[in-house]
C-alpha cells in the first residue's frame, strides 16, 4: 500500500517543478510599491500601535504592506524574510526577535538586493546591512526620567538605578539618566543594580537597597515591571512617602499607580510615531534620498491625569 503515496508524491513534485514559472517571480502585481514587515509580536500593545502607524502612512503613499509576526521566534522570522525575498518586495521592515540572531536573515535580503529597515530593535549581529534604524530616543528618555525624578525629590538626595544592562536600549536609558542627573549637584547616584526588567527581582533588589541605603529618596526603574516591583518593596517597608519612583513606558497598570500618586511619573514612547516614520523613511529612500543610519523618535512623559 505504501507505493501509492510514494508514486503520487513524486508526481506532485514533478508537476510542481514543471508548472513553475521558469524565470522566477512575475514580481508585484499592479505596480504598487510592496513592503514586507516582520514584527516581533502582535500581542503587545506597543507593536499594535507601531503597526497602526505603519498602516496609516502606507495608506497615504498607496503602498502595499504585507505584515507578518514572528511571535518572538527567530526561526519563524527568518522564514518570513525568506518568503518576502521570494515575493521580491521593494523594501523590508524587520522588528528583530533577537538583535544577535537576525543578522543572517538580513544578509539574505542584502544578497537579494532588498533594502532592509529595522524598527524598535537594532541588528547587533556581525552580518547584515541595514539601511536605516528607526527607534525611540532612549538616551533622551533617560534624560527625561532624570528631570522628573529630580523634580520629584526637590533636586537633592540619594537615588538608585534599577537597570537591565544586557539590553542595548536600556543601556541608553541609563546613560541618558546619568548624564542629566549629574547636573543636579545635590543628587547622588548611590547604586545601580540589575533587576533583569522583572517584577519579582526588582522587588528583592529594592528590599536590599532600602536596607543598605536608609537615606534613599529616589529610584529610576528602566521599565514598568521594574517600577512596580520596586513600588511593592517600598510600600512593604512603609517608605512610600520618602522614596519616589520614576518608570518607563506607562503601561496601563503603571498609569493607574501614577494616577494614584504611588509612582511619580513615567517616560512614554510613541510606537505609532515609530511606525509612521519607518514608512516615511522608506518613502524618502525609494525617492532617491539617503536616510541617516539611525533615526531617533522623540519620547514624552506621563505624570498623571492632572498633569
Amino acid at each position: 500500500m505504501q507505493q501509492y503515496p510514494v508514486a503520487l508524491f513524486c508526481i506532485v513534485v514533478a508537476a510542481w517543478i514543471a508548472g513553475c514559472e521558469p524565470n522566477e517571480s512575475p514580481t508585484s502585481d499592479d505596480g504598487r510599491v510592496t513592503i514586507g514587515v516582520t514584527l516581533l509580536t502582535e500581542q503587545h500593545q506597543f507593536y499594535q500601535q507601531l503597526r497602526n502607524g505603519m498602516e496609516t502612512t502606507a495608506a497615504e503613499h498607496d503602498y502595499k504592506l504585507i505584515i507578518t509576526s514572528a511571535e518572538g521566534d527567530s526561526a519563524r522570522q527568518s522564514n518570513q524574510v525568506d518568503e518576502f525575498i521570494v515575493q521580491k518586495v521593494d523594501a523590508l521592515i524587520v522588528c528583530p526577535c533577537d538583535s544577535k540572531s537576525v543578522g543572517a536573515a538580513i544578509r539574505a535580503a542584502n544578497i537579494a538586493k532588498i533594502p532592509v529597515f529595522t524598527a524598535d530593535i537594532a541588528n547587533l549581529s556581525s552580518v547584515g546591512e541595514v539601511t536605516s534604524h528607526i527607534a525611540s530616543d532612549n538616551k533622551a528618555g533617560g534624560r527625561e526620567a532624570a528631570r522628573m525624578l529630580g523634580k520629584a525629590i526637590g533636586h537633592k538626595g540619594s537615588v538608585a538605578i534599577l537597570s537591565h544592562p544586557q539590553v542595548a536600549s536600556v543601556s541608553d536609558r541609563v546613560k541618558g539618566f546619568r548624564e542629566q542627573i549629574k547636573l543636579f549637584r545635590d543628587v547622588e547616584v548611590v547604586a545601580e543594580l540589575s533587576a533583569d526588567g522583572k517584577r519579582d527581582k526588582a522587588m528583592r533588589v529594592t528590599e536590599d537597597l532600602l536596607q543598605s541605603h536608609p537615606d534613599l529618596t529616589g529610584i529610576f526603574a528602566i521599565n514598568d515591571d521594574t517600577a512596580l516591583g520596586a513600588l511593592a518593596a517600598v510600600e512593604a517597608a512603609n517608605r512610600k512617602a520618602k522614596v519616589r519612583i520614576v518608570g518607563y513606558d506607562a503601561t496601563p497598570e503603571a498609569r493607574k499607580r501614577i494616577d494614584a500618586g504611588d509612582i511619580y511619573g513615567d517616560v512614554i514612547q510613541h510606537p505609532q510615531r515609530i511606525g509612521e516614520l519607518t514608512i516615511q523613511t522608506i518613502h524618502d529612500f525609494l525617492n532617491g534620498q539617503t536616510p541617516p543610519s539611525v533615526i531617533p523618535v522623540e519620547v514624552g512623559t506621563y505624570t498623571g491625569k492632572d498633569g
Binding site: L8, E21, P22, S25, T68, S69, S74, D82, S101, G103
Partner: protein
C-alpha cells in the same frame, strides 16, 4: 468490509488521500498567489519544512511505539546553543573543524538527552508524556542557562553554508539532509528487525515482549534517535541563523507531532509510515507558506492550522471505521 469488495480505484484513493490533499492544496495555493508557483518559492517551502521534517521522521518511530516526545522543540534550542558555544570557543581552529566539532557536540547532546528520557520511560514505566514534558522544561532551561539568556553569535561565517547554503546551486543543504534522513528512517522502519520491533511494540507491547523483543531497549533507542535528529535540526538551524538562540523551537514539538498525525500515523501506536510524515510536513508547510504569502494574520493562521489537524484526524478515524 473485506478487500475483494472494494474497487481498486477506491482503494487507491483511500491509500493516497493525504498526497491527494497535498496536490489539491498546492493547486489552490498556485491559483490564489502567483508568487507561490515560482521555483524560488518551491525551494523556500521545502527548506522551511526540512528542519521540522527531520525531527518528524524520528517522532514517527516514537509515536508508532505508542509514545510521544514533547522535548524536541526545546532540544532544538539547547543543541543549537551548545553547538554555537563550542564553535565560539574554538576561534583559532579552522572554521571547518570548529563547525564539525560544534555540530557533533550538539547532536551528541540531543542523542544523550533523548537516550536518558528513553531509559527513564523504559525502566520506570512512567508515561512518555510526563518524562518528555520534564525534558522539555529542563532542556529549555539549560539552553538559557548555558548562554546566560543571550543568543550566542560571532560564529564563523562558513556555518551559513550549512544552514542557508545550496548543493549544486539548487538544492538547499537542509533539504538534502532531510532526504537522506527520510531514506534512512524509512528503510529502518520497513526493512529492519528493529523497525519491525517498533511496530510490534506499538501494536501490542505484551505480545512483543512475549515474542522475545527487547521492549525497553527498543524504546530507549527510538528516543535516542529522535533526540539525535532534534540535535541535527538544532545545529543546522544555528547554521541558518548564524547564531545559537535559546528562544528558537518554541512550539516545534507540536508542529512536528501535527506533521506525523496529518501524515496518517496513529497516536495509539502500531501504525504509521515515514512517507506519510513527509507528506504531512509538506501539507503543513505549504499551508503556512501560502497563508503568509496571502498576508493572513498569524492568529488566523493558527486557527486554520488547528482546523486542518482536526479534519485530518477526523478523516482518519472515519476511514478506519470503514475499513473495519
Amino acid at each position: 468490509m473485506t478487500r475483494q469488495h472494494v474497487h481498486p480505484v477506491v482503494r487507491f484513493l483511500v491509500a493516497a488521500r493525504m498526497p491527494i490533499i497535498l496536490v489539491v492544496l498546492v493547486m489552490a495555493a498556485s491559483l490564489s498567489s502567483e508568487n507561490f508557483r515560482t521555483q524560488a518559492n518551491l525551494i523556500n517551502v521545502v527548506r522551511q519544512v526540512s528542519f521540522e521534517a527531520i525531527i518528524a521522521f524520528g517522532m514517527t518511530l516514537v509515536i508508532v511505539t505508542g509514545g510521544i516526545d514533547l522535548s524536541v522543540g526545546s532540544m532544538v534550542a539547547l543543541t543549537g546553543v551548545v553547538a554555537a558555544l563550542v564553535m565560539r570557543a574554538m576561534p583559532d581552529a579552522s572554521p571547518v573543524l570548529a563547525i564539525g566539532v560544534g555540530f557533533a557536540c550538539g547532536i551528541a547532546v540531543g542523542a544523550g538527552v533523548g537516550a536518558t528520557s528513553g531509559m527513564v520511560i523504559a525502566t520506570f514505566a512512567i508515561p512518555p508524556f510526563i518524562v518528555t514534558l520534564a525534558g522539555m522544561l529542563m532542556a529549555r532551561g539549560f539552553a538559557f542557562i548555558i548562554c546566560g539568556g543571550i543568543a550566542v553569535h560571532e560564529l564563523p561565517e562558513q556555518v551559513l553554508s550549512v544552514g542557508a547554503g545550496f548543493v549544486g546551486g539548487v538544492i538547499p543543504v537542509p533539504v538534502l539532509v532531510m532526504l537522506l534522513v527520510y531514506a534512512a528512517v524509512a528503510t529502518v522502519l520497513s526493512r529492519t528487525v528493529f523497525g519491525r520491533s517498533v511496530v510490534a511494540i506499538g501494536s501490542n507491547e505484551e505480545a512483543a515482549a512475549l515474542a522475545g523483543i527487547r521492549v525497553g531497549r527498543t524504546k530507549a533507542m527510538v528516543y535516542l534517535l529522535t533526540g539525535g535528529l532534534a540535535g541535527l535540526a538544532g545545529v543546522m538551524h544555528t547554521g541558518k541563523l548564524m547564531s545559537g538562540d535559546p528562544n528558537v523551537g518554541e512550539m516545534w514539538e507540536l508542529n512536528v507531532i501535527a506533521a506525523v498525525v496529518v501524515g496518517g500515523t496513529s497516536l495509539f501506536g502500531g501504525r504509521g509510515t515515514v512517507t506519510g510524515t513527509l507528506v504531512g510536513a509538506l501539507i503543513i508547510g505549504v499551508l503556512n507558506n501560502s497563508l503568509n504569502l496571502m498576508g493572513v494574520q498569524q492568529f488566523w493562521q493558527n486557527v486554520v492550522l488547528g482546523a486542518v489537524i482536526l479534519l485530518a484526524s477526523l478523516a482518519d478515524a472515519g476511514l478506519r471505521r470503514l475499513e473495519r
